[in-house]
Symmetry: C2
Subunit: 309 residues, 2 copies
């Protein structure tokens, strides 16, 4: 089962000659979740040959142009190609007003249903659950209300140890019941706990997107042990004051959050255009957390299946 | 004196993996005029290392998203870098309302003055004149009101034939008067016509941008003898019915306009994404007008100085 993130844009507000502003695509089991949708998102999707029609859910972190200005163009394109399936957008309620205004201005009639889900940006809660993937909102600290997103695979039903099926001659009804969490009571009244029967062949995977944000200790508890954390690192450590004033993080701060949360891998991005290259920012993050990479547009980061023994 | 056009986007409404939607930059004597501003325009400007701060005038042909959706992002970027100089936008009056709404939504306060010039889209008239360059609106035929733009160098003052300065011992006052169009009256009452004295070392150059439009014979008279004509050719000849329904032109129609208007060179563009490559469209245009090129993103087309002998 695929679980991978594609970076569509890795710059902060000012795009550069090699970096577009913020947008990520998470492919979770061939469902595509678009996270932020800056100007140029649809071009990056084309370039990277990502099938746009598979995008049914768009999550917007906050209402700055460098995270949202690609929405009207993307929706127009969906309309031009005659999209039929519903499109869900999860964002601050104010975005709905803006979208309604602009879609009325630019588009005669949508060929599909646009369903808007208002996200309460200061709350940590489940905002999406399709039985396979669950998404939680992560309150961030920025100049305007902002929310990160945690995407997590849900556990399916466990496997049952074959040898025990034989040993206790389990019926299909008993197997189903045990898979759903029941213990087994033997004819002599002895109880065999559910745990003895069940196991999971792999662990669930999780990806957290945290941008834009100041350093926020609150995040640590909310993203504990994710496999992949994207945390903005707009600035190098020397520019920590600038980070504070503008509501952003430094490389060191991003890596500290990673390190405290116990995440497996860190991607930093949302780089200020003031840095001609991001080697220094990456180096500073790696000093605190070695397993860090610097986002590049077009990059795909796979989270491998975590098999249990 | 530079007079060149850079193609920022050559696709029609749906961008492709190699083509962004419509935007051109005309460099006329190091003044940069932006013509249309689709999504991604600011990225193309960055990539092509075009100095954004030199853009003071933006001309918008019509209010479809694939010609306008880059405006809010570009203006946001101007604001972030602390632009001070006025920015002039020439477009259908309705765009002002849309821009005002979106700039209020996304930007706290502009660091520069935005000056909006409403273009009457069904009129052929001068809409800009800075003494060196003049811009005329060109009524087009599209599904919504649309205007092309004709950019023309203005003639400066003529040169005076040196040998006649000596022959008639002209004073500085007389030279200035002749340069400004007067004839010369000799002491004996004889009149030497202005034409005898004056000449221009080069001819003025002109560029016409005609997109989006149906085939329109009216254009022919308005763009006569331009050096460079950009005319949309969204479709190949076989798709002429589709062109008519959608308010666009075929390759053959674009080349016919060029041919009838006596222009020197034709650029076709605004290609539908249905064509994997545009060889056929180019071939069809060339059958009618040989000196045709197919627009490519990033391409620069120079109009050389036309020296008189």
């Amino acid at each position: 089962m695929t679980f991978s993130v594609t970076i569509l844009g890795s710059s902060s507000a000012l795009p550069t000659s090699t970096r577009f502003p913020s947008a990520h695509v998470l492919n979770a089991h061939e469902r595509l979740f678009l996270i932020d949708c800056a100007e140029g998102t649809q071009m990056q999707l084309r370039r990277l040959h990502i099938k746009m029609s598979k995008i049914n859910h768009i999550f917007i972190s906050h209402l700055h142009g460098d995270h949202t200005l690609g929405l009207v163009g993307l929706i127009s394109t969906f309309n031009l190609v005659g999209r039929k399936s519903d499109l869900h957008i999860y964002a601050n309620a104010k975005l709905e007003e803006n979208l309604t205004y602009n879609l009325n201005f630019f588009i005669e009639e949508l060929t599909f249903k646009l369903i808007f889900h208002a996200v309460e940006q200061n709350k940590h809660q489940v905002i999406y659950d399709d039985g396979k993937i669950v998404v939680e909102s992560l309150p961030l600290r920025h100049r305007v209300p902002a929310t990160g997103f945690l995407f997590r695979e849900k556990r399916g039903l466990p496997n049952i140890r074959k040898e025990l099926i034989e040993k206790y001659s389990l019926s299909l009804a008993e197997i189903s019941s045990i898979k759903n969490g029941s213990d087994l009571t033997l004819p002599d009244g002895q109880l065999i706990p559910n745990n003895d029967f069940t196991y999971y062949s792999s662990e669930t995977r999780a990806y957290a997107y945290c941008s834009d944000t100041l350093y926020s200790e609150r995040l640590v508890g909310l993203i504990r042990n994710v496999d992949l954390l994207y945390h903005e690192a707009t600035f190098a450590n020397d520019d920590i004051k600038l980070a504070k004033v503008t509501g952003h993080s430094t490389a060191g701060q991003a890596a500290t959050i990673e390190s405290k949360s116990g995440a497996t891998k860190l991607i930093i991005g949302h780089f200020s255009s003031r840095y001609k290259n991001v080697d220094l920012i990456l180096k500073e993050a790696k000093e605190i957390f070695e397993n860090t990479i610097a986002a590049e547009d077009g990059q795909v980061i796979e989270v491998p299946v975590k098999r249990n023994n």
